[in-house]
Symmetry: C2
Subunit: 116 residues, 2 copies
């Protein structure tokens, strides 16, 4: 971002963008779906399920964890990651609100295009 002028935008916009960024990579989407499908938390098996190196997967996990979308619990030798469903529900509401706002306006009609 060079200078990351994010400060110039509203908190809502920044928050939405932050979460969107977390979902902006197929691997992270896949990780969340994986965690959702196995209602029990799995550990580094995640890495085995994805076509990426363990290091890279770990990196993606860190990014999701940084946003608190997922959590990891150490269980002896293994670590169990799981979804933060509470936060996800909040995020879902944010996205719903955003999309509702975006889709409520009239589409750019054929003729009524521009007001000026």
């Amino acid at each position: 971002m060079t200078y990351a002028k994010t400060a110039a935008f509203t908190a809502d916009q920044q928050q939405l963008a932050r979460v969107a960024k977390a979902l902006a990579h197929p691997a992270r989407v896949a990780i969340i779906q994986l965690l959702a499908s196995k209602h029990t938390c799995i550990s580094g098996d995640i890495a085995a399920e994805l076509p990426l190196s363990r290091t890279t997967v770990f990196q993606h996990l860190q990014e999701l964890k940084a946003l608190d979308l997922i959590r990891g619990e150490i269980d002896g030798l293994t670590v169990c990651y799981c979804l933060n469903t509470e936060l996800l529900r909040q995020v879902q509401q944010q996205f719903t609100a955003f999309f509702t706002e975006a889709t409520s306006g009239a589409a750019c009609g054929p003729a009524d295009a521009c007001a000026f």
Copy 2:
């Protein structure tokens, strides 16, 4: 993405990630909100509303247009951008389905954490 191993993920995951990426910057979120608030399409005024240079804003517009989330119609000297509400509605459904899937699973409970 270095090698962009996106091919290894499902079409759904890639599509979701693509759209998420479009929303992964506050400026682009702001642009969509701006277009939504003025139900009439505005033109390069968008650049004036954002704390970014005209070139940069144009770049963001191009990214949104590449995904067909917005459209631009030339009207003489000015250009009117507007939301593709139809596509946005589809995208909203994708996100809703994704979040529903993600939030339906039981959260990583205190004790029931790991199965192994």
